[in-house]
């Protein structure tokens, strides 16, 4: 793809600003907060490096549904739940280290595929409002997850370890210690670079995922997803199986979210059994949008920039709030408010721009050639 023409520089700057307003707002807030936070550069960088390893994989799981025109897959929390179930079994079986993580992935995979398939079916029935439906679906499945983990595990689903079971004999404890697998991936290939610890194995996994996505875009399936993302009707009439492809996009996204959540939790080292997934979708969505993605277009750089920016803000704003307002609490509310507002703003800008584009496209037709959309449907049918 090439740029067809060059805009004059002032207009170019304006257009760049309009396209990246979300990023710019975020950047300026963070730029103010960094010096006020009084944190050392090396602390910030180390924290960022850790958070990259912890979060990037999860954010990548949003790419494919966006490509397939389904917006931000808030239903990715279903994948996170599958990952958590995998980890529960890994801990219960006492499988430690990277093997434990692999075991969790193996257990989580079929669950993620099933949940992804269900989510895909549901979203296919909610065309045009996939995002809100995905969001509520996350809530709904949270209930089902609670039912399974709190009531069935240890009662119907065999759980051997007493240590992770509630004292009443069934149900998993509120906090699950992940000591057996704690940071096993991060520590697998640890690189000490000056004052910094780099979890190279985790980065390697993320890099492989990025490569996978680059490759996937070049496959037939990837091309079909791009086509569907732009026009379902045309794709359908060209013979592309629209519904199936959309379901596949969600299944893959759910699978990736499952792996992503396992990577996230191995870094954290323990798991709030019933809460760990609640904010997953929110953080991932905020990150990708902060990175300059829209509901219809997201790239790998969007993910990388977004994770960096969002987490930079999460690191520096609370201490900055403490210093500026005497309350770290204010900083914490502020970063949440910013993240929510960024999601709202990015979604609103996209919806607004879509309408503006449609209108300007029509304006181009005025007085010129017509779109010639004939009411041919009624001709043979009704007369």
């Amino acid at each position: 793809m090439k740029t067809p023409f060059k805009l004059p520089s002032a207009a170019r700057v304006r257009r760049f600003a309009a396209d990246n307003v979300v990023v710019l707002i975020f950047l300026s807030v963070t730029a103010i907060a960094v010096p006020s936070s009084n944190l050392s550069a090396s602390y910030i960088i180390q924290d960022l490096l850790t958070r990259y390893g912890r979060n990037a994989f999860l954010v990548f799981s949003l790419l494919l549904p966006i490509m397939a025109g389904m917006g931000i897959n808030f239903g990715m929390v279903l994948g996170a739940m599958a990952g958590e179930i995998g980890l529960i079994f890994a801990v219960d079986q006492g499988i430690a280290g990277v093997q434990g993580l692999l075991y969790a992935v193996l257990v989580g995979a079929p669950i993620a595929v099933l949940l992804g398939w269900i989510a895909g079916q549901v979203l296919n029935r909610a065309r045009g409002r996939e995002m809100v439906t995905g969001y509520i679906l996350g809530f709904f499945m949270d209930g089902v997850y609670q039912f399974v983990v709190l009531y069935l595990m240890g009662a119907i689903i065999p759980i051997t370890s007493k240590a992770i079971t509630l004292s009443r004999g069934y149900g998993i404890r509120n906090t699950l210690g992940l000591d057996s697998v704690r940071q096993s991936l991060d520590k697998l290939l640890k690189l000490e670079l000056g004052p910094f610890d780099l979890p190279m194995a985790t980065y390697l996994v993320i890099a492989l995922l990025a490569l996978f996505i680059v490759w996937f875009r070049r496959t037939k399936l990837g091309q079909d997803m791009r086509a569907i993302g732009q026009d379902q009707t045309v794709s359908h009439s060209a013979g592309i199986p629209v519904e199936r492809t959309r379901i596949l996009a969600i299944v893959i996204s759910t699978l990736l979210a499952m792996v992503g959540q396992i990577i996230f939790l191995q870094n954290m080292g323990n798991m709030a059994t019933y809460n760990a997934h609640r904010q997953t979708g929110f953080f991932a969505a905020a990150a990708i949008l902060v990175g300059g993605a829209s509901v219809a277009k997201a790239t790998i750089p969007n993910v990388l920039v977004g994770v960096g920016l969002l987490h930079l803000m999460y690191i520096v704003v609370p201490p900055a709030g403490a210093r500026l307002f005497g309350s770290a609490q204010i900083g914490e509310y502020f970063r949440d408010a910013m993240s929510y507002a960024v999601i709202a703003l990015a979604l609103a800008l996209h919806a607004w721009r879509k309408r503006a584009n449609a209108e300007s496209a029509r304006a181009g037709l005025r007085g010129a050639a017509s779109g010639a959309v004939q009411p041919a449907k009624t001709e043979g049918g009704a007369e």
């Binding site: 969001y135 509520i136 949270d142 209930g143 089902v144 609670q146 609490q329 929510y340 507002a341 709202a344």
Partner: protein, 347 residues
């Protein structure tokens, strides 16, 4: 038979199942030693407590702006009214009515701005509304800390600034509506006359509003925006009106809720308040683009009956507290059901 079938299909199996579930709860209650009159009393007071928040969803649904997941915008206006009224030292009826009065201008202002935004994003209202609500709540969490509130009953004792997470309304207007002309029957049953009368008045107001020229135009916009436009009605304006009315009812709704609950809850508390209201109205038979007073009344009653009865009855039966799971699955299941139904407006 066919008619019955279409009626059932129209109403939807999930609603019918839930309806029978509620009936079963009431039938089972005495068998497991739960007092029906006490339970009924609870249900009634929660019905009045939550009703206006559910009612607030009606105008936007009718105007085609979808389910108002941004209800917290109105709730924030109500919280401002409530806290300011306390700050000014108003109590009793003056306090409650003062809270309502103070919250109204905020609600109109917020609703107007929120409505302008929603008009720009037609087709994506619900997701954006949700996040507008979230960011509003968190943004105000900062303000609750920063605004110069000083009444000792409201601010943190040790620092003297910043509102508390939960502020008791004791000594101000706790249960002022609930207790107004309340009728006590036996030991366990109280009929909250004032509360229900207020709810009835609010419902009546909404009913009248929908029958006015503006309300009629609004309904037409939701039913078929092109028809309304051809009839000289500006759909943007009608949607804006609907958002403002919804926000105002949200503000009043939370004040009624709080006086019954006895506390003002601040900070993150309003974050998810839209969801139970949305679930309730859908449970009552509303769809994403049609809602009536009957939907509100039936839905709120059923939903609150489930919330009240399940902990008691199910726990006694299963010896375990599954009510939370049941609440999550039913309320969100109901919303998903409504979102995935083919939109009924025939075109």
């Amino acid at each position: 038979m066919n008619k019955l079938k279409t009626a059932v299909a129209d109403f939807g199996w999930p609603r019918i199942i839930i309806f029978f579930f509620v009936v079963a709860l009431f039938v089972a209650a005495p068998l497991v030693g739960v007092r029906v009159d006490g339970a009924l009393s609870d249900v009634l007071s929660r019905f009045g407590q939550n009703g206006i928040l559910v009612l607030a969803l009606v105008p936007m649904v009718q105007a085609g702006a979808g389910l108002n997941f941004g209800l917290p915008v109105g709730i924030i206006a109500g919280l401002l009214g409530g806290t300011l009224s306390m700050q000014f030292g108003l109590s009793g009826w003056a306090g409650f009515l003062g809270a309502v009065g103070i919250s109204l201008p905020f609600a109109v202002l917020f609703g107007w701005a929120y409505g302008l935004l929603l008009n720009k994003v037609k087709g994506e209202e619900m997701t954006i509304a949700m996040y507008v609500g979230f960011s509003m709540v968190t943004f105000f969490a900062i303000l609750w800390l920063l605004l110069p509130y000083s009444s000792p009953n409201m601010v943190w004792g040790y620092s003297g600034t910043g509102l508390r997470t939960t502020i008791t309304l004791d000594g101000y207007w706790t249960k002022i509506l609930n207790d107004f002309l309340a009728i006590r029957i036996g030991r366990f049953f109280v009929f909250p006359t004032g509360l229900l009368a207020f709810f009835a008045a609010a419902t009546g107001t909404m009913w009248l509003f929908l029958r006015s020229k503006t309300g009629t135009a609004m309904t037409a916009v939701g039913s078929n925006p092109d028809f309304a436009r051809a009839g000289g009605v500006s759909s943007d304006r009608m949607r804006l009106v609907s958002v403002v009315v919804s926000t105002v009812f949200g503000a009043v709704g939370i004040l009624v809720y709080q006086q019954s609950y006895g506390f003002i809850q601040l900070y993150q508390a309003p974050l998810y308040m839209a969801f139970p209201a949305v679930a309730a109205i859908l449970l009552g038979g509303a769809s994403v683009n049609k809602a009536s007073m009957v939907n509100v009344l039936v839905g709120t009653f059923l939903f609150q009956a489930i919330l009240t009865m399940t902990p008691n009855v199910i726990n006694s039966v299963l010896q375990t507290d599954m009510s939370e799971v049941i609440r999550i699955v039913i309320s969100n299941g109901m919303i998903i059901y409504a979102l995935t139904r083919k939109t009924k407006v025939s075109k």
